[in-house]
């Protein structure tokens, strides 16, 4: 089996899984996770993401459906023999055991000699950079340190799939950055990982695949690029941080194949390329696809709208403008353009974007 074939074989297969647990219910979840995938499971709090992890780990019994690991059914297998490691959001470190003993805990079942155990603990501690903490007790660790200990402990059980429940929550920005580095390192070592989060930026910067859960259902699954650039519904779009998303009515042009007009309100309509047959839906205009000009410009852009800058603020390495043009558009510009063009609130500008840049989503 070569590398490609291995990657194409799902390590974890979830078929029509339904789980009901206290207030949470997951319905008909189907998902394949491939070897070496870093899957971010996205959803708002209470969407049922943690319940899905617990069901995969065998801590919650599914009402129906099947879970397969490397082709073998594990739906009803015992927790301790499933080969799926879970790092809880609260970490659940054993308070009465030292960091060393916490990490060594799963090694007892591996039949290792004490020398082998010692070197494995040191290797794992080195991987997550906590060698200096091995003699400490969990009660004395900071949030970031405890998170690393929990990761090392679960890795010691050598799981086929590593499940992480909100691993970056409750950490400050600096620690988040450091821990992202640790997670990438673990992923690069070949681990298949599922990471539950409600933060789409976290998902976009770490994951190779993204699955979005809404009200207990899986609404979209794909690469971060696919999901964020082509959200399947309004929830995914808003969740993924797309700002220029407007409900609209659709007018199709009989003569011009594929060209439609999205009427957002009495003052604003936008042309886009898309399939026929829709009467209403949503249009999305990625903020980086909008060109700002001081005057109407001759270009291939079909859409030209005049508006007034209402707000201008720093965003990441550039600036974001909110331009009122019948509806508020959010536009990304560089700091240099912002200074050169004096793009200050109150200034009138033109917004230019191609029909091809506009994405339509059926409601």
């Amino acid at each position: 089996m070569n590398e490609m074939e291995r990657n194409e074989y799902p390590v974890l297969q979830i078929h029509d899984l339904s789980v009901r647990f206290r207030a949470f219910a997951l319905e008909d979840i189907s998902l394949d996770v491939f070897r070496g995938d870093y899957l971010a499971l996205l959803g708002v709090s209470g969407a049922g993401k943690t319940v899905l992890l617990e069901a995969l780990a065998g801590l919650v019994r599914p009402a129906k459906g099947r879970i397969l690991l490397n082709g073998s059914e594990i739906t009803r297998d015992k927790v301790q023999s499933r080969g799926i490691g879970l790092v809880y959001q609260d970490l659940s470190l054993f308070p009465h055991l030292s960091v060393w003993k916490n990490i060594a805990y799963p090694l007892k079942h591996k039949g290792l000699s004490s020398k082998q155990s010692k070197s494995r603990v040191e290797e794992l501690a080195g991987q997550v950079e906590i060698r200096h903490l091995l003699d400490r007790y969990p009660g004395t660790l900071s949030g970031g340190e405890a998170q690393r200990v929990a990761l090392a402990r679960t890795l010691a059980s050598d799981p086929q799939v590593l499940l992480l429940d909100e691993p970056l929550s409750n950490l400050d920005v600096k620690l988040k950055g450091e821990l992202r580095g640790v997670l990438r390192k673990i992923h690069r070592s070949g681990k298949t990982m599922i990471h539950v989060t409600h933060d789409f930026m976290e998902a976009a910067t770490l994951a190779t695949k993204v699955a979005v859960v809404e009200n207990g259902r899986l609404v979209q699954h794909g690469t971060p690029e696919e999901v964020f650039r082509h959200p399947r519904n309004e929830f995914v779009a808003r969740f993924s941080g797309i700002k220029n998303l407007f409900p609209c009515k659709v007018v199709s042009y009989a003569g011009d194949e594929g060209l439609h007009e999205a009427i957002i309100n009495d003052h604003v309509s936008i042309r886009y390329l898309g399939k026929d047959g829709h009467k209403s839906g949503y249009v999305m205009i990625p903020q980086e696809d909008i060109v700002v000009s001081e005057k109407p410009i001759e270009s291939s852009a079909t859409n030209r709208l005049e508006g007034v800058i209402r707000e201008a603020y720093l965003s990441g390495s550039g600036m974001e403008l909110v331009v009122e043009s019948g509806v508020p558009f959010v536009v990304a510009v560089s700091r240099q353009s912002h200074e050169n063009m004096k793009l200050q609130p109150g200034k009138r500008v033109w917004l230019n974007f191609k029909a091809a840049a506009v994405r339509f989503m059926d409601s």
Binding site: A57, G58, L59, K78, V79, Q80, S81, I84, G85, L86, Y88, D90, S92, F94, P95, H96, S98, Y105, P106, K108, H109, D135, R136, Y137, G139, T140, R153, T154, A156, S157
Partner: protein, 218 residues
């Protein structure tokens, strides 16, 4: 002194033998849901709420020479009625609720997630019990064991019904008081109180600090 030794040893043997059964039962009561759990919890408390002489009579109905348990004991050379085995059973019967209740509270205080995490790390349920649940509930369990021992060795009502002889100290004190008066009963009572006091202070010290408050070591 012989009586005091008999009292201490009998109650200790009761704690050891019945403690081995009571601690897992306490864990089951803390963690599992099953039909009739309320009834079991009620039965656990029964020896505390009934008069101990009545408890002794009830026990006699189970371990007297007319019952198969009593006959099996006789056959094995460990007679219950009028023997140390009977004293052990009587002491354990009236004192076991203290251990079960304390241990159950201790196990309930252990976050279930820690046990789930241990299972997820590949540990068997037995290993989870001995390495996570029991050590974290240790303080409650030790308190329960101490209380059980204390309650057992001060037992009079149930023991006097099952075994007047050999004479445990509470029975001895009562017998001296009833037959010869206060002056005769006082020395035995004083010695017994002092020995009990020393034993329990030592036990409390051995129970140690709560494990969760342990800090950096090395």
């Amino acid at each position: 002194m012989r009586s005091i030794r008999l009292t201490l040893v009998s109650s200790l043997v009761g704690v050891i033998i019945f403690g081995i059964l009571a601690i897992p039962l306490a864990y089951v009561l803390a963690r599992r849901k099953f039909p009739g759990k309320g009834l079991v919890n009620g039965l656990v408390d029964l020896p505390v709420v009934i008069p101990h002489s009545a408890a002794g009579i009830a026990l006699l109905g189970v371990i007297s020479r007319n019952t198969w348990i009593g006959q099996a004991g006789e056959a094995a050379g460990i007679p219950f009625v009028g023997g140390m085995a009977g004293i052990v059973v009587a002491m354990a019967f009236v004192s076991i609720p203290y251990l079960i209740n304390a241990a159950r509270d201790g196990f309930e205080a252990v976050p279930e997630k820690l046990e789930k995490a241990a299972l997820n790390l590949g540990a068997s349920p037995w290993r989870v019990f001995f390495t996570i649940s029991l050590p974290l509930a240790k303080r409650h369990v030790l308190t329960g064991l101490t209380m059980m021992w204390a309650r057992g060795l001060s037992e009079f009502g149930a023991v006097v019904i099952i075994a007047y002889h050999p004479m445990v100290t509470p029975v001895l004190i009562w017998e001296r008081f009833a037959s010869f008066g206060l002056a005769y009963a006082r020395p035995a009572a004083a010695v017994f109180v002092i020995i009990c006091l020393v034993v329990f202070v030592l036990m409390r010290l051995l129970s140690g600090k709560p494990p969760a408050s342990r800090h950096t070591e090395g």
